[in-house]
């Protein structure tokens, strides 16, 4: 009986130990990556390629997601507030929800799925095929050449994607409000503009930048330390998406609490 409990204790202790070691390892990687983000020379061509990939090619998926979210939000809000002053309420709730929460979170999750997975798979493949080792022997720092451009591009692109996503989301709400719920367009737009607050935009942008950091760091970390061939690449890809998504949802609460708590 005692052996059984000691076994459980030993296994739990080992897992906890590994968990703490991994957290420490991640923060060492984080510190090193931040250092290389600010250290010249910057590989401008690589940064530009990443901006196109992350920013431009994510636009359709982010646009579609936020557009339909805006539409759903307008419809649900109207159903819930049909007895009240619906035009003002729908406009206000669509605006606040999109700019404060749905825009950044949905964009973050979509980019984590699309770009995070791609980054992790790309870097993990380079790791298991010795390309990262080769980089180091050719006078290039892998952190500077591979990781830093991805982080810089995410920090630039995700806030911009969120801003564009917000506009498209609000447009989605507008389309439903005007063409399905037959609201007065001028009144709806007036209500939207009236409730538009700078703090909401700032909060959304701050969230987006933090999500950008989370997605790039987590994906690059799992890719960079991948092992065991194809299985390792798969593990890195899945882990990066799951951990990024969980961290996005956790951090959005913390940021909201800091701004409005």
């Amino acid at each position: 009986m005692l052996d059984f409990f000691l076994d459980i204790l030993g296994t739990t202790g080992k897992k906890f130990n590994n968990f703490v070691a991994n957290i420490g390892h991640f923060f060492i990687f984080f510190g090193s990556a931040i250092y290389w983000v600010f250290k010249p020379p910057w590989y401008l061509k690589k940064i530009f390629q990443q901006i196109i990939d992350i920013g431009y090619f994510s636009l359709p998926v982010v646009g579609l997601t936020t557009f339909f979210s805006g539409m759903v939000l307008a419809l649900q809000t109207y159903n819930g507030f049909t007895d009240f002053n619906s035009e003002t309420t729908v406009a206000r709730i669509v605006l606040t929800s999109i700019t404060r929460e749905l825009g950044p979170v949905l964009t973050g999750l979509m980019v984590a799925g699309r770009i995070g997975a791609k980054m992790a798979a790309e870097i993990a493949t380079m790791r298991v095929t010795e390309q990262i080792d080769a980089l180091g022997t050719l006078g290039t720092r892998p952190m500077q050449y591979l990781i830093a451009p991805k982080i810089i591009a995410c920090l630039i692109c995700i806030p911009l994607l969120v801003l564009i996503g917000n506009i498209i989301g609000i447009l989605g709400g507008y389309v439903i409000a005007i063409y399905k719920l037959n609201f007065n367009p001028s009144l709806y737009l007036y209500a939207t503009m009236e409730y538009l607050q700078l703090i909401d935009i700032i909060q959304g942008t701050v969230k987006a930048a933090i999500f950008g950091l989370i997605i790039s760091m987590v994906s690059c970390y799992f890719g960079y330390y991948a092992s065991k061939g194809a299985e390792g690449v798969g593990f890195a890809t899945t882990s990066s998406v799951v951990i990024s998504s969980v961290m996005i949802l956790t951090s959005t609460y913390i940021i909201t609490a800091l701004f409005f708590g």
Partner: protein
């Protein structure tokens, strides 16, 4: 600089040991690579040859021992100094390790392009001048590594290693997966690189024909350590059982007539 037989010692590996999770891979490895010398490292698959090479180029840190390249101790050397030292080396990895996202010509001139400003035209010309020696067609320059055969990838990786004429060449199975004609061409190239530019080379290989063509000295890694050292000719008269297993399949007459 340390000398032996009036030749500079380019690489000196002293008492090197390496293990992974209590699994000892290399134990008390000692050897030297002299200036102008071509050294072949042979051994069964999984005997630790590639691990040895990775220790020499600093990808792995040995548990014990020292590695001196051009009079500089590599073990625990600060990363920036290690990188500077590695710039004097031309290295090929077992599976090529070409960068998928770059075209073949960009792969070949990667190290040079990092050191100095070089435009696309100059870069392609430089890459072309190297691949000519390796029997590759110029049309592969504008293709990506995934668009050419495995054998061609191997040759592009060799082109990347010899670009800039490094004085120390390290090849991990350069002829595996190549047809005999191309393999012989690569051997000739390694030999030429060593003789004409006064370079030194370490080649890890299973290809005994290749060993006979390129090596001045051969070391065998067996049971985690160097179990035999000699010249290619001496291999054929050796009483070492493992060496006999290696040379058995080939007819020495072909190479030493």
């Amino acid at each position: 600089m340390e000398k032996r037989n009036n030749k500079k010692v380019i690489i000196k590996v002293n008492d090197l040991s390496k293990s992974f999770n209590n699994n000892i891979v290399l134990k008390n490895i000692n050897f030297q690579l002299l200036e102008g010398e071509s050294l072949a490292i042979i051994g069964a698959s999984g005997s630790g040859k590639s691990v040895l090479l990775k220790n020499i180029i600093g990808i792995l840190e040995p548990d014990k021992g020292s590695i001196v390249i051009n009079d500089t101790e590599m073990v625990n050397l600060p990363r920036n100094l290690k990188e500077k030292l590695l710039l004097d080396l031309g290295i090929t990895f077992q599976h090529g390790a070409l960068f998928d996202s770059l075209k073949n010509w960009e792969n070949i001139i990667f190290k040079i392009a990092n050191k100095e400003k070089i435009n696309n035209k100059q870069g392609k010309q430089l890459a072309f001048s190297i691949i000519k020696q390796l029997g590759l067609q110029p049309k592969i320059l504008d293709l990506y590594p995934s668009e050419i055969s495995g054998g061609m990838q191997k040759r592009v990786a060799i082109a990347r290693a010899i670009c800039g004429n490094p004085k120390i060449l390290l090849f991990d199975e350069p002829t595996s997966g190549l047809d005999p004609v191309t393999g012989s061409l690569i051997d000739q190239l390694i030999k030429t690189a060593v003789k004409t530019i006064g370079g030194s080379a370490i080649t890890i290989t299973h290809d005994m024909a290749s060993v006979c063509r390129i090596a001045d000295k051969v070391i065998l890694i067996d049971k985690q350590t160097i179990s035999w050292t000699g010249t290619p000719k001496e291999m054929f008269n050796s009483a070492n059982k493992k060496i006999q297993e290696f040379v058995e399949p080939i007819n020495s007459e072909i190479f030493f007539k």
